[in-house]
Symmetry: D2
Subunit: 260 residues, 4 copies
């Protein structure tokens, strides 16, 4: 009997200079993959070094979390950047964090674009391709995290084209549309606030590969990694509940490099 495995990933290393953001010391021990900001939308060289050190201490896999050069908007504002610009931004940021990882004897496991870059890629697969191309040119062992959804086969083909693994991501605290896309945050019910419901939704996806949509229908949705947050004590409590729910059901929390 094969053991079910799932990854928990969280955005960390988002502090900047004198500005502290997130509860990295608390959330990192609870996850298996750390998405570390790379200095464009958040993070700075010292924060990158320290965040990698924390991840290392806890045996958590490290990944790059590149974003748009928009510190003021925290990388959350869509920017009309060209595909060339996106490729270059990814190369630059992944290179920078690779250096900090290497200096500590680690290798990056994955790359997950941040905020607007991720959201724009979900809308425009040419951006996923630009990111994949940049990532593959640096290290074919890197896993690219993308949103799990209806275009799974296209994204798998993209990974195959560039020779990298794709890690499909699930959002336990977000409602899904019947077509496998996320319900827009502008719609009511888009975000699920009940921790128990989130944990159960995650478990169902892991065990059955299914999610109940906002309209009550059930669709197939398989993912490798769950996005969790460490912004505040409530978010941390949710991560703990998700962990406990998964472990109680015999699911192993593991970085995707272990099972992809």
């Amino acid at each position: 009997m094969s053991l079910l495995k799932i990854d928990l990933n969280s955005d960390v290393g988002e502090s900047f200079g004198n500005y502290k953001l997130g509860m990295d010391e608390e959330v990192i021990p609870l996850i298996s993959s750390a998405n570390i900001a790379c200095g464009f939308h958040a993070g700075d060289p010292a924060v990158m070094r320290r965040t990698i050190a924390i991840a290392h201490e806890h045996g958590v896999a490290v990944g790059a979390h590149p974003g748009f050069p928009d510190l003021l908007g925290f990388g959350r504002r869509n920017m009309d950047a060209s595909l060339d610009e996106i490729r270059d931004y990814v190369t630059y940021q992944v290179g920078a964090i690779q250096a900090f990882a290497f200096a500590r004897g680690l290798q990056l496991q994955h790359v997950k674009p941040h905020g607007a870059m991720y959201n724009m890629a979900v809308q425009n697969p040419a951006i996923w391709e630009a990111v994949a191309e940049a990532v593959a040119a640096l290290d074919k062992n890197l896993i690219l995290f993308v949103l799990a959804g209806a275009n799974r086969s296209e994204l798998e083909a993209l990974g195959a084209k560039y020779g990298i693994r794709i890690g499909f991501e699930f959002f336990g605290d977000r409602a899904y549309n019947r077509d496998g896309s996320l319900v827009s945050r502008k719609q009511p019910g888009a975000v699920i606030h009940d921790h128990q419901m989130v944990a159960e939704k995650v478990l169902k996806m892991v065990q059955e590969g299914k999610v109940v949509c906002i309209d009550g229908s059930e669709i197939e949705l398989a993912a490798d990694t769950i996005c969790v947050h460490g912004d505040n004590p409530s978010a941390l409590a949710l991560v703990k509940m998700i962990r406990e729910t998964l472990e109680a059901a015999g699911v192993e929390i593991a970085p995707p490099a272990d099972f992809l």
Copy 2:
């Protein structure tokens, strides 16, 4: 009889976004080592990629040219950064440019700190050590460019301590003090404007390992690389004259990875 070899290095890739600076296309074919800005004091991801491509086309060795995070001051203003900050800035910037080099199938040859970071290191060897430590942690094949001067043995010891090669740099267009230091730009005669004099000074240093100081005395000063500039047509003309003078004397222009 062994052939004399010397490197010509120039700061390139200093454009930023819509701002063009320097005549990279013209100067790169004339040099053997390109110091490429890494996005802190100058340069941006697209410029880094394109500058590496130009260097590659001309078979010119590529190096990182990290600076302080002071785009407004072009990295020329001393900043009271800590040694930790300097180490982290070097790691970040070298990592970023390593990525662009790697994506093009190249390896970085060297690291030369820019502007205020270089000048502060000349005044404070603890900064050379911080830079050397950061560089060595990333790639022991990297050569660290430092100012040739009286503290040669200390800097060689630093290289030995961290297991990296040190490339000593000579400024043909700058006057030297008797102690082997550069005459301050605030003093008259600090910069030599006569191209013929510069070329002859470079040749003397290469052939004899000696330089005539501002006070007329002659001191020993050996270097591996000559700093040249590509900011304007006159600077380019000087680089050509230096090249021709050296080649006419049978000196080979070569990157220091070839002979250090």
Copy 3:
């Protein structure tokens, strides 16, 4: 008989730190209104001060040229900024340049949003309103420059609502659609390169209030200010030809504060 008057405006003060952009010293004497970058997409405090000094020496009216906080993209990339953000960006930048003008004994004449902020406002009048509101809150004597087109009455109403004057802008080197909008730069023929044609087009608009569109039809289009450029010698030559053509026809070049 009343004398025809028209304004010539140009984007200036776009240098940044060590980066020089544009031929401000040459173009400013040829125009009547200077749109001065304010440090977000271009320009810096020293450049702002010096550019105001040049405009002052030549008796050219000074205006703010606020843009998005995207130095890397030169403010030319659409950004998903909220109306609140746009208002705040305009307030900040106009305030900063007001200070430099005031310190020299000058008052700002106008505000013209830059690049993507201007283009987004052309597409979305709510952005014109956000800009107008910010401008009016600072100085009701300020003239807001907007693109002349079919929505003239709406924009005049906007000016009336906030108690500021609107200056309608004409692009002599751009082709117009029949609906009074600019032909997209992505279409062939969008930019007119023939200097003679541009000058005649400007003169026709000034004398007749009409423009011949890309489809050959003639539409009414009245404007108060002509956008010219000072990026390069050819652009300068065009400004001179436009001036000469206008003056030969008895049109006076004057800042809009003189006639609006």
Copy 4:
């Protein structure tokens, strides 16, 4: 009998984008003068607008808190900026915040340089002069906050020269040397952590114009404004204790525009 008056000032508006710093909502009601960051070392346009609104609601005087363009170092690192650069940085930042104040119907009361700019001015009076010159050129009603110390008469002469008022600042939580300067933070005992001691020290200075130095000697030191902090709950508690101690002794907390 004349009532004793003293100002309490605090650095506020130091949040940036998604980064929250300081307890502005809590500390502003406790002070009489708010030093608002202007976007260089901290703060952003939206934060500036909101901070002015909070100060306005509580009837607290607003001031500019300009710093070096070093967001990463929070303006705390000495930078080798020229006097021209400092003047321009002050003009730019004061202008930007004047705009937000004006848009709300307020006038700036004062200017207090931040961090390294303040500390460098304390070491080099030419920097105080550059700041004073920039401030005076914008509004002669502005009060320049400077460190109270042995050079009081020189600083008063500087204010007279430029026609602006000088507000002398006292640090209740810092130890003083016999010459009236602050004990360096690198020395033990430089910062006083006992709240009761700080409050008593402030009261003594206000009532007697005297301070007990680190060596036990007592010197004369008159000041108009006390620097307090709102970074954390403990700092807030200290501000409350200082207020209560002063008010219990019949001292009125008031902005310096009321009494200078």
